[in-house]
């Protein structure tokens, strides 16, 4: 261990931030760990900061179990099979309201979004059966600016990460409700973010 870490150094160089972000060089990270094992003040910075980071609306502490890959493959086979079956049906077959809601873009999901203090705050209604939601933001030219996935029904992102300034240019967004395997349950209409 070549680095010596003290409370003063932690304060001066704000070592806790790169440590919890995973960007502190390894020898220094280990020296910092040796320090906070015996320092409640510095440990409080690490623990508190890490908890706040983990509570970011866009973060979801889950992993993709390997066993789900097989389940997803089975689901995909089913979806493709249903697709072929539907293609084989007469073209003028009536479309049920439920098919419009599931496959279309007109499903009401109570989308609300607004720019506040250089942040975009967005929220939508909970969809029964949805395990997560994929939120996508598009520019006025249709380019995808940002995509996030969350289990919550709200999201907050810095306008910087969208590459737009509040009040400039149209910003569109859409929410997809996903089941546990990532399959789409419902998709919202593409709506414009209310300018502030």
């Amino acid at each position: 261990m070549s680095d010596v870490v003290t409370c003063e150094r932690v304060e001066r160089e704000a070592l806790d931030l790169p440590y919890i972000r995973g960007t502190l060089p390894e020898p220094l990270a280990e020296a910092f760990e040796a320090h906070y094992f015996g320092c409640d003040t510095c440990w409080a910075l690490v623990r508190g900061g890490n908890e706040v980071r983990a509570a970011r609306p866009s973060f979801k502490a889950t992993r993709w179990p390997h066993s789900w890959t097989l389940a997803l493959a089975a689901l995909l086979v089913g979806v493709v099979g249903v697709g072929f079956w539907r293609l084989s049906q007469p073209a003028d077959a009536p479309i049920s309201p439920s098919s419009l809601e599931r496959g279309g873009t007109a499903a009401p999901m109570g989308l609300r979004a607004a720019m506040v203090d250089r942040r975009l705050a967005a929220e939508w209604s909970k969809v029964p059966g949805a395990a997560s939601y994929r939120i996508r933001f598009f520019g006025s030219d249709g380019a995808l600016l940002l995509q996030r996935q969350t289990a919550d029904t709200a999201l907050m992102v810095a306008s910087d990460s969208l590459g737009v300034s509040p009040g400039t240019g149209a910003l569109l967004w859409q929410v997809q409700a996903l089941d546990r395997l990532g399959g789409e349950l419902l998709r919202s209409a593409l709506v414009e973010v209310a300018p502030r």
Partner: protein
């Protein structure tokens, strides 16, 4: 701090005889181990083993200087992680290569965040919502947006020294809002 404070995060506790050590060290050792092994369950095993070893050394009176306990626990955790790393290195390298090939993912995930359970995340979000807007904004800049401290200082119009003080205070008030007040040092 309660001896059982380590139960805050999801996961099991050490054996009963080592619980006196769990309060101050359980979370630290778990986080330390998680950063090395990348898997919450393995990190928990290593934390439990570390505290078991430390408990045994204390019971046998082999640690004469109580002030050396943090360093002893740190070194024990480090040694156990290195042992685990050696035995699992070959397998994990192969798995890592395979995973990278399949996912195209080169960047390591935010490993440390895996230690915070979903229930705790919900509690933290609620506590954040109860904070004053100044505290909340500061914490969001630093921990949601990962902004450099210089940028946060500039945005909030405060000096870096003032930002440090405000960060401490905001985290302390968050701990109070979470009901961890007795667990927070000044």
């Amino acid at each position: 701090m309660s001896p059982l404070q380590g139960d805050r995060y999801s996961g099991g506790l050490p054996l009963a005889e080592d619980r006196d050590l769990a309060g101050p060290y359980w979370e630290r050792v778990r986080l330390f181990a998680l950063r090395r092994v990348g898997d919450p369950a393995t990190a928990e095993d290593l934390a439990q083993e570390t505290l078991r070893v430390a408990g045994a050394v204390l019971r046998e009176g082999r640690l004469s200087n109580p002030d050396a306990l943090p360093a002893f626990i740190f070194q024990t955790a480090r040694n156990l992680c290195m042992q685990r790393h050696r035995s699992g290195a070959r397998e994990s390298r192969a798995l890592g290569r395979l995973q990278a090939e399949h996912t195209g993912q080169a960047e390591p995930p935010d490993t440390l965040l895996l230690i915070v359970g979903e229930e705790r995340c919900v509690a933290v979000r609620r506590a954040l919502a109860r904070l004053e807007s100044g505290d909340r904004q500061l914490l969001q800049f630093l921990y949601f947006d990962d902004l450099p401290t210089a940028d946060v200082s500039a945005r909030l119009g405060v000096t870096p020294d003032a930002l440090r003080v405000r960060k401490h205070r905001a985290l302390r008030r968050l701990a109070v809002a979470l009901g961890d007040a007795g667990d927070v040092t000044p």
